[in-house]
């Protein structure tokens, strides 16, 4: 927020329901509203007294009235200085949480309480219960109810009633003497002595004050509610904007990169064929070169197949995940059985753990779930040299204990209920810290972007299209899940994907969370200098 003098104030509102009140309070500080109004009152009161003196020179007001008005002016100076101090604190404290806000509320309470006391003194010296200006109590209470918490506003009501009743009863009983008339030029009507009138006046004042307090509190509560709805709508809009920007960037990059990746094998094939044609390839190398050409054709076909998978996942109706109820335990078991011979062939132990007697059903399309988890297992096997191990675990309960078993060594975190977790842990190369540092948070690219491959995989000559993790991200984001990656270069990676459970299939679709992946990498020797690289992990809740 920017004050009228250009000062920036940053507020972190802990309680959305208090947002309106807090902002109203800050508005008060911003505009010096109370302070300015009080100066207007002081000038008006002095003007009225001067005019009265001019019109009826023989009539004099009690000297105490001038003292009270002087007191208002003096106190207003104090408020003015305090307001500036508070504004400076709010501007200086970027976090601006409980401290300055609490002080501002105390400050507003003090102002309302003092104003009520000063108003009572003015009434005391200008007619007491005979003075119709008692309606100004209502004015102060309305402001108090708008700015303060409910309990504080009710206490201010009680304070106003006590003050007014004290003057009324004090004058009636003769404890407060003398009685000063509202209009000294005219004879006093003597109502202050009339018990009936005093009771009615105090009763009307109490009803007025409480009624205004109640209605103002109701209005404030409705404003709070509306404000909360607006905050939620704003947050949803921000998420939508982020999602659209991210998806547009991905699409733009995808088209360029896809064109390159499809052209690359064709270009190599053409050049190799040219080399054979021009006799540059020695006769003994002709057959291996022809084999390379055939292999590049195979690679191209694999790439097109994966592109088609990605296109199918991207273009399909996202609601298919809502209506699906897939047993993740079954999917994992089937996939692991399929990958077992490949793992055995590489001297890599493939283990899988599924909860006994539980299907671990989640809202994700079964074919997509199979593609997603299959890609993770395929990657783990690809990047784990033998002898090594790949372990796939399925879990439906997210206790901290479970989390430690899912991601051993990873920073402690609270995982959420309402998800089925699939963790694929390998003892392979791990991800490179440096490769992720240039990307991630700025949205310029991430591990999950299409055609992105790790340097260590390229250096090791491991074939790959760089599309597998894009398919994983697409499925998880569409299904409303999340991805957490924990990796130590040279010691392996742990990919955890979360699929939602128990959501209403008829509920409206959530805004897609395009920042639902979190990547944590550590140096091989974790310690105080361990490097963490995280992307945003803002979670979308419905």
């Amino acid at each position: 927020m920017v004050l009228e003098d250009g000062t920036h104030i940053s507020l972190s509102l802990q309680e959305p329901t208090e947002a309106y009140r807090t902002r109203a309070l800050i508005s008060l500080l911003r505009l010096h509203w109370f302070v300015r109004l009080r100066w207007v009152f002081v000038v008006a009161a002095c003007g009225v007294l001067a005019l009265e003196r001019f019109v009826t020179p023989s009539v004099t007001r009690p000297w105490q009235l001038a003292v009270v008005i002087g007191g208002v002016a003096l106190l207003n100076l104090v408020w003015m200085v305090t307001t500036r101090g508070l504004r400076a604190r709010l501007a200086a404290d970027e976090a601006a949480e409980a401290g300055p806000i609490g002080s501002a509320q105390l400050f507003a309470n003090a102002q309302v309480a003092c104003d009520l006391a000063l108003l009572t003194l003015i009434l005391r010296y200008t007619g007491g219960v005979e003075n119709p200006m008692m309606m100004f109590y209502v004015f102060h209470i309305a402001i108090g109810a708008l700015l303060l918490r409910k309990r504080q506003a009710l206490l201010q009501c009680a304070w106003a009633i006590v003050l007014y009743a004290s003057v009324a009863v004090g004058e009636m009983s003769g404890r407060l003497t003398p009685h000063y008339g509202f209009l000294p030029a005219l004879p006093s009507p003597g109502w202050h002595d009339d018990a009936y009138y005093v009771v009615v006046a105090v009763g009307v004042m109490i009803c007025g004050v409480l009624g205004v307090c109640y209605f103002t509190l109701e209005i404030a509560a409705r404003l709070d509610k509306r404000d909360r709805q607006l905050l939620e709508a704003n947050a949803a809009l921000r998420r939508s904007t982020t999602a659209i920007q991210d998806l547009q960037m991905r699409r733009s990059r995808f088209m360029q990169n896809a064109a390159h990746q499809l052209k690359a094998p064709l270009a190599v094939i053409q050049t190799l064929a040219s080399l054979i044609r021009d006799g540059i390839v020695p006769p003994e190398a002709t057959r291996p070169t022809m084999e390379k050409i055939i292999q590049r054709c195979r690679d191209g076909i694999v790439q097109v197949t994966e592109l088609l998978t990605l296109a199918r996942v991207q273009e399909a109706d996202p609601r298919r995940h809502r209506v699906a109820s897939t047993s993740i335990a079954e999917v994992v078991t089937e996939l692991c059985r399929r990958f077992k011979p490949i793992a055995d062939g590489k001297n890599v132990t493939l283990n899988w753990v599924v909860p006994e007697g539980q299907e671990c059903r989640a809202h994700v399309d079964p074919r997509d779930a199979s593609d997603c988890i299959g890609n993770l297992i395929d990657n783990a096997l690809k990047y784990t040299p033998g002898p090594g191990s790949v372990t796939v675990k399925v879990a439906a309960v997210a206790s901290p204990h479970r989390q430690r078993r899912l991601m051993p060594g990873a920073p402690e975190r609270e995982l959420e209920d309402g998800f089925v977790y699939v963790t694929v842990k390998d003892t392979g190369f791990g991800l490179e810290t440096g490769a992720l540092a240039d990307h991630g948070a700025e949205g310029g690219g991430s591990l999950f972007d299409a055609f992105r491959r790790g340097n260590n995989a390229v250096a090791a000559g491991i074939p790959g299209t760089g599309l597998g993790l894009s398919i994983v991200r697409e499925v998880v984001e569409q299904a409303g899940g999340r991805i957490i990656v924990y990796s130590r270069p040279g010691r392996g990676s742990t990919f955890t994907v979360m699929f939602p459970t128990g959501r209403d299939p008829l509920a409206p679709l959530c805004v897609r969370d395009t920042r639902a992946s979190e990547i944590i990498t550590e140096h091989a020797e974790p310690g105080p200098d361990a490097v963490r690289s995280e992307t945003s992990s803002e979670h979308t809740s419905c």
């Binding site: 050049t271 540059i280 491959r453």
Partner: protein, 132 residues
């Protein structure tokens, strides 16, 4: 007899390594190949080659461009001529460069794959003999 001119290739495609060797080595060039940016840069610092053949898309789609900018900003290495080779055209390469905040592709020559052996050899000869 002088040492053969040293050409360093950074390209993540191992088949390209074979192709470049087959094309340039018979012409008297010594070719060393690296599949990743970090290992290629290490070789550049260590060996100070006469020329660099650089692919744009390495581990990331713009890693080659970043390396080219890095080399051309370095007082020690900026004299090394670079031929950028990529499956994306020069226009796309420059577009990537602009996305990175750079004006153009800071290289002596840009060649689009598929490479014609004779054209590649001619380009290398020309750039190394100062005609590029």
């Amino acid at each position: 007899m002088s040492d053969p001119r040293h050409v360093l290739l950074i390209d993540d495609d191992p088949d390209m390594h074979d192709i470049i060797r087959l094309v340039l080595e018979p012409s008297g060039y010594r070719v060393t190949c690296h599949a990743t940016g970090p290992s290629g840069m290490e070789a550049l610092r260590r060996d100070q080659p006469d020329m660099l053949l650089l692919d744009i898309m390495l581990a990331t789609p713009t890693e080659g461009l970043l390396l080219a900018h890095q080399i051309k900003r370095d007082e020690t290495f900026k004299r090394i001529p670079i031929i950028m080779i990529s499956s994306i055209g020069r226009a796309h390469g420059e577009a990537y460069g602009r996305e990175l905040g750079a004006d153009g592709v800071p290289v002596e020559r840009f060649m689009e794959k598929p490479l014609e052996p004779a054209q590649l050899r001619a380009a290398v000869d020309e750039v190394l003999n100062g005609g590029g």
